[in-house]
Amino acid sequence: MGDIVEHQVPEPLPEAAPVPDVVGGRRQYLSRYVRRRLLILVPLAFVVTVAAFGMTHAAPGGPIAALLEDHPTSPDVIAAIKAKYKLDDPVSVQYWTWISGVAQGDFGRSIMTNDSVLSEITRRLDVTIPLNLAGIAIAVLLGIPLGVLAALYRGRLLDRLLVTVSVLFMSTPAFALALFALYFLGFKAGWFPLYGPGSWVFGRVHHLALPALVLGLHGMGLEMRLTRAAMLEQFEQDYIAFARARGLGSVHVTVRYALRNALIPVVTAAGLLLTGLLTGSVLVETVFSLPGLGTLLVNSVIDGDFPMIQGLLLFIAVWIILINIAVDIVYAFIDPRVGFGKATS
């Protein structure tokens, strides 16, 4: 082994312009990039809030009717409520009051619950965040291996089966999947509790397991399809063949070469998935009676609780953008080429 016979080696010509080392350039690139993406937040917040404001105020109904909930009323009562929530001010004034509050971290108070919007939102994060994270974890942990498997068995029965199953999960409305799981796994099998978020760590894990599974399966389809497509693309690559030609084992080639490179698009998709799951969790939370952001949003929408709707929309938009930024940063870590003219988007 390793006995290299001395021989005359033709030296390479000097490199025209060696590409500099990774560290400085990339870091600079990333921070510039993140800053640029963060800048979107300002116009985004403006547009989202103005749109939300315009919509909630232009819409008939609104909080008054919701507040009264069909109970007997009179103009006096209505006037009192309007005064309390300053609903008689011109919309622009209301907006200004609200947005300057937001700038100071005060998102106002919910009309329905009289509680601070911010505390309502933060209170629900300990359901929605674990739910979404668990959902994405399941989607990724199931989707990627299954996608790899499908790609390895390309064109064969297993592949078509897996692809069809993934499409099935994508095509099943989240709420239907949730009801299905609730009925069969929760009720018939009795493995999971049927409602609520549970308390303490174990209870929460137990209660969130089924909804997270539903979310995960719903998202798995996308992740699996993408992984499969990316893996197939990888399998065509020269470097895969070259790795095999060097005698590297098929597991090594599949994991360290194909999967490693396939991860680049797959991670981007995971970011998308988080956005998608947020929507999915609205429905799943409703079915599983979970006090998360989703049920909060649905309730506020039904009640016309617009301080809450505005706060939530702003929160969600910011959340999604931050996720996208985070994904792009992860992306930069798994793709060493980022920052050298290979654009991310």
Binding site: R160, V163, T164, S171, P173, T286, L297, V298, V301
Partner: protein
Amino acid sequence: MSAIATASPRRSILRRSGFHRMPSFFLVTSWLIVGLVIFMALFWRWIMPHDPNEQDLLNTSASPSSEHWLGTDQLGRDIFSRIIAGAPSAITGPFIVALTGVVLASSLGILSGYMGGSVDMLIQRFVDFMFALPGLLIAIVIVGVAGGGYWMAVLVLSLLNFAGSVRIIRGASLEQRALPYVEAARTLGVPRHRIMYFHIWRNISPIVFASAALDFALALVALSSLSYLGLGTSPGVPEWGRMLAENQALLFTNPAGVMAPGLAIVLFATAVTVIGDWIYDRFSFSGRTGR
């Protein structure tokens, strides 16, 4: 010369090739499902056994029988007929969403990919922005707050759900733009709009259609989700999503009545997606990966 074939490679070839010769069960089934739904959408008036709106208040939540193949719902209406009568709305809304998606996403995506520069920047930022707005979520908010039901939902989904397609189409257009045939067209004086919306469009159209098929399926699912929250079609309209939501109450008395609309949605959406994939594989001129 000796030509002794060794056994093992042959076996592996057979194993490998076996499936390719088999007609794709899933694809054929998908075409059948889509064909069936289109058939139902066109001829529902003539093929349904009952008036889908005819109520029988004394025979509600009935189990399947020879009279009512899928039983009846809470107002005693024939679920089988309602499934058939639901076909048009299962196609119309998603079709509009997918079509608007195709039109908007390909105009913007190709423009962005081909023109580059500040136009690209602008469209990209716009798409980033749209991405921060999850379509279904916004639809829930808008339809919930402003009302408007099904058509508002269709409108919102149409306008919000194409951002993903723009990115895909932009990427594909970027690839095409760098190809010599596009550059040749430029130097030969072919007008820009023709390069973009004739040459590039035709070459990326499998991608467009595949993503439109996916949009269609996702819109179907999204609209049914809205119906579940009571934000879709008008009550009583035989629409699968709404039926699924309404018929939930039949879970114990007529489970078939709950499953049927759910299955209709799932199978139709799946079939459309499978066909979209097939279009992509079959007609893609260059082998790129889909989403």
